[in-house]
Point group: C3
Chain length 281, copies 3
């Protein structure tokens, strides 16, 4: 029996539903009705509304830390249109991802070893009726995840389709420059840290202990540091964050308030000569 | 044995406690101490503070999607006064609702088939001591729900009283007008959608594909659509939301920012002649 | 077998991670991988970012309401520096607290009967690798709590050290004055109530039914009341909150908006003569 078809019992759930409305709680109820023994791990429901890329990055960042689980992800600006709902069977282990086919699942699928097979969620026997036009998390995706967590084979949920037709989400990646790189802000976290789509290795050995950051009309200097606390209080630092990406942070402060950047902002990171005075933001 | 007295094992919990303080976590702890095997489904703790009507609507919207569960709801501006705490036994199945007798439970009780019996939570043996004056969620309601989830018969929690004495919460409902209707905003969700106290059938067949919305000094036109994405980006749409109510939404935007409405605002919905130019907000 | 070394199965988790990022969900995943049967009770993840004192007070307020559980607390501005991670074995029952040694655990340890033994989390066999510099909740603390919940003896997690070396967090406490007291605002809750570091008994019998509050340039009068609802609507009241502390509240309103206080603000509470007109804020 392939692991993807075995009973996994756990659903890991990520969405942009927030926690001020009962959307998430209702999905929990739906899952409990279908598979009473299922456990649900809420990864995050604070993805910025309809920000598919942020949700995709958060999901991909999380997969290595999860127990065997059906991953249920819903950031779905196209709900009610012809965009498809899918289950992806991934990697050698047959890991299962459920959600809209809009790129949200793609980076996680790659992190799990790539897509092995795809089924479109078109079997109404495993959906709620009446089927709403606006809440497929409740009516389509949570039921699919619950049935999978209960041991239903993925192919029962709908038609097999070719993986080549999936919507892919490709991150912009860092753009190398002679004296540094340009990188896109992917996420801004609760602490105001800016996670960039670049890794420390992308910086190159040539980069000194101080860099210049540019974005829009602004210019700031930042210390390259191993951790927040290595920078002086209120000082900008460029660190490796917990997902292995470069991040702009402020010791005891919020980088986002200093740089006025949002997800999607492109920042330039440039080396400064060794004699440059210490970063003061 | 009536189902309302059988062990159900699950507590579905809704409140206005928010998640920034440990109020909800402490109630989880109280439940786990009393009935270690109980599972708690958090429906929502983001009911606007002390907004009994919003909590009542969220709870009633949720009941159809829950497994057999004791429903625990706390939005309780009168905590510490003479308002009663109650458990309602509802419908043919004996579904159980626990909370303050301030109308919060009423719409859910009706959705569950109506109140069959009522017990006031006046038995101190099933409350925490000392009993606080300000946190009956912790001291009275969570314990009651936990004991019920563990199989305690509802009548053990306190005195039986007449259901006629319950505080009822009656929603305003739509007011039909010659060329449309007036409806109250019940909820504003995370996406900025305004859920109205009216259903699509209330609009009548006479209504065209474009309506005028009026509220306060504002006037807007909106497209009547099946789903968000059917409206042009940034366009106001009148859709059926996931609870079956009419809702004002903006494709890729936030209706609440356009209409400046809050829960309680009355909006007028009026049909426009077929030749009217498409909605532009 | 000492209780602290027995399998407790439950982890109670408090942090300042918030719920908009997947930090908390990832920690849940880590715990489920290590001890699949562990249950996690989320006490609160809304501690103000890096506010060790607020987290310490919330944790200490919660311990009496929890079932036997490993308490996992992470508010950790010094992550990545030389500050230690520790497990504290507390009280006669051997209750277990896991977190950074920065004072966060101290008031809870005292509430649990005092620290009996301390182990530094320096055994890499029970940490994730690679060990990040910025997310010890995921890499050090959640694993430690999960292993303890699964029955691992605390001494396996690292070296035993002397409890005298622990960082202690001592609350400022009330300062008695001839006609009242001065007290520090510890917490501001979702409802805008200000919880003070003083208890009703500190007020003394001499205090009348009306007090004057002073903070910064402001002066307000407040009614001493048993509960919110005893004050007139919009009136300031001084009540005993659910943690047994004095709190400034407004019936149907938000005290924090009236007094413009934050955690750390010192308020003066002074008795007013009995004939003083009723409080009007």
């Amino acid at each position: 029996m392939r692991r993807g078809r075995a009973r996994v019992g756990t659903v890991a759930f990520l969405s942009d539903y927030g926690l001020t409305d009962p959307f998430v709680g209702i999905c929990h109820g739906v899952i409990a009705r279908i598979t009473p023994s299922a456990r649900v791990i809420d990864l995050s429901h604070g993805v910025p509304p309809q920000d598919v890329r942020a949700g995709a990055v958060q999901l991909a960042d999380s997969v290595a830390y999860l127990p065997p689980a059906v991953m249920l992800a819903v950031v779905d600006p196209g709900v009610g249109t012809s965009r498809r709902g899918v289950v992806l069977v991934c990697g050698a282990g047959g890991a299962l991802l459920v959600g809209p086919d809009n790129g949200l699942l793609w980076p996680a699928a790659e992190a799990l070893g790539g897509v092995r097979s795809v089924f479109v969620l078109d079997n109404p026997a495993y959906q709620l009726t009446p089927l709403s036009r606006t809440f497929h998390g409740r009516d389509v995706f949570a039921p699919a995840a619950a049935y999978l967590a209960g041991g239903l084979p993925a192919e029962r949920l709908g038609s097999r389709v070719d993986a080549d037709g999936l919507v892919r989400l490709v991150l912009p990646g860092p753009v190398p420059r002679e004296d540094g790189l340009d990188a896109t802000v992917l996420l801004v976290d609760r602490f105001g840290n800016l996670s960039l789509d670049a890794r420390p290795a992308d910086l190159g050995a040539a980069l000194g202990a101080t860099v210049e950051l540019r974005g829009g009309a602004g210019r700031w200097t930042a210390t390259v540091a191993a951790t927040f606390a290595e920078a002086a209080p209120a000082e900008l630092a460029l660190i490796e964050d917990a997902s292995g990406r470069l991040a702009v942070a402020v010791n005891q402060g919020r980088a986002v308030d200093r740089l006025d950047a949002v997800p999607g902002t492109v920042l330039s990171v440039r080396g400064l000569p060794p004699g440059h005075p210490p970063a003061r933001g």
